[in-house]
């Protein structure tokens, strides 16, 4: 039985998807925990919308470069082998299919691969930033989310009701209970979380999942 908390289960499973040299963009929130789970020997290059590949750890206090922040507004550093560039190339990389993965949080996600993660109807209006570009352009779109909302309803829905970030764009949904792949046939339960049965996942999900005969647990 794993000792990992829900967010670490989610982000460790996602970190294990990457192969050496992959280029990855991480959204705010849970996806920010992914880097600490990348296995030794695998180098993942982080991409930031404002024009960085290879953004490194936060700058030490007093050493902040006033001309250098990451996409979360943190004064960051650059790793050896990294580089910077303008917004058009940054989004060329995103939209041109050069990102191996984008990992994003969700307000809602559904079994058709629709994602809503930028706006709650009637709520504040922050703007979509680069999220619509990321879900449209990246080779693989991975949603990192707890399985249920605070009210107990499942985050994986039959159909999103909030304004969408992208239509039929999601490839994988990873929660602490399940790794679900969105396929043309439907949402397939590929793995369950540590100590969780397929039946349990199905019971805690408000949308039909395709359950293969054998569903392994995540190998974390």
């Amino acid at each position: 039985m794993s000792q990992l908390g829900p967010k670490d289960i989610i982000t460790k499973r996602i970190a294990l998807m990457f192969k050496d040299g992959d280029l990855v963009n991480l959204g705010v929130g849970i996806p920010g925990l992914v880097p600490k789970h990348v296995p030794a020997g695998v180098t993942v290059w982080l991409h930031a919308e404002n024009g960085i590949i290879g953004s490194g750890p936060p700058a030490k206090p007093g050493k902040e470069d006033p001309f250098f922040v990451d996409a979360s507004k943190l004064h960051c550093t650059i790793l050896p082998g990294g580089c910077t560039f303008d917004t058009t190339l940054s989004f060329g990389i995103i939209r041109g299919g050069h990102l191996d993965y984008t990992v994003l949080g969700a307000l809602q996600v559904d079994i058709e691969g629709n994602l809503a993660n930028w706006m709650v109807p009637g709520g504040p209006l922050p703007g979509m930033g680069g999220a619509m570009d990321l879900v449209t352009g990246a080779k693989k779109v991975v949603v990192a989310t707890t399985h249920s909302s605070k009210d107990g309803s499942s985050k994986i829905m039959k159909r999103c009701t909030f304004p969408l970030t992208g239509v039929k764009v999601v490839d994988y949904i990873v929660t602490e209970l399940a790794l679900v792949e969105i396929t043309p046939e439907g949402a397939v339960l590929r793995e369950t979380g540590p100590g969780v049965s397929a039946e349990e996942v199905v019971r805690l999900t408000d949308a039909p999942l395709i359950v293969p005969k054998s569903v392994p647990q995540m190998a974390l």
């Binding site: 024009g51 939209r95 992208g166």
Partner: protein, 223 residues
């Protein structure tokens, strides 16, 4: 004729009612002195195209709180709660645009292209609100967005020479480079002391000098 001008003379070219491209991402690469000067002059009813609205104290947010902006075209305004207030009161027109589409719309204006064809935003509010128009090209559905030009671009650079060649540092570039191609007048706020022609590496220049009309030396740069 020197391109280097005092701050007040440079910003004298910005008039109420104009459309401005303003560079910057979370305030990095935003020409702060220009923002202050616009507020000081009480310029109103600006259409501002920018990545984000910064905060009430930083970047384009200062223009918002000072009441200088009539229309805002950007990708993110999450830290300036005055935006939904002004929109609700009918005092601000807001056009939320995906960040990549915004950059390409500016580039299309600067590069003389007829517009942008992108899959970003298909089936979302971007299409529902008519910001992008669905068309089918080459067997693929896309949204068409028109070019987005400004009267004046306000940009910040790390280094410049007297011909107006600009070099940015780290993430200071963001929208600045492309915005310098897409306005009738480009005004740059330069961080480091402006150097003689020939002192910048010609292959390292981000914005060719002839695209830049006016250079303003930032205060403190010569210290």
């Amino acid at each position: 004729m020197s391109k280097i001008k005092p701050l007040e003379e440079a910003i004298g070219h910005v008039k109420s009612g104009m459309t401005l491209h303003i560079g910057g991402f979370y305030g990095v690469g935003t020409p702060d002195e220009f923002i202050g000067e616009i507020i000081r002059h009480g310029i109103k009813d600006l259409t501002v195209v920018t990545n984000d609205s910064g905060t009430p104290e930083e970047g384009v947010g200062r223009l918002l709180y000072a009441g200088c902006i009539g229309k805002l075209i950007l990708s993110w305004c999450g830290l300036t709660p005055i935006v939904p207030e002004l929109v609700q009161k009918g005092k601000l027109e807001l056009e939320l645009t995906p960040q990549g589409t915004l950059a390409e719309r500016i580039r299309a204006a600067g590069y003389g292209l007829g517009g942008v064809l992108t899959r970003t935003g298909l089936g979302t509010i971007v299409e529902e609100k008519g910001l992008g128009t669905r068309i089918t090209v080459n067997g693929t559905e896309c949204l068409y967005h028109p070019p987005l030009k400004a009267d004046v671009t306000l940009t910040e650079a790390y280094m410049a020479d007297k011909n107006g060649n600009l070099i940015f540092r780290r993430t200071q570039n963001n929208f600045n480079e492309v915005m310098c191609t897409a306005a009738d007048m480009v005004i740059a706020s330069v961080y480091k002391p402006i150097v003689e022609m020939g002192e910048l590496h010609p292959d390292a220049v981000n914005v060719p000098g002839p695209l830049v009309d006016i250079l303003v030396q930032q205060k403190g740069a010569l210290s």
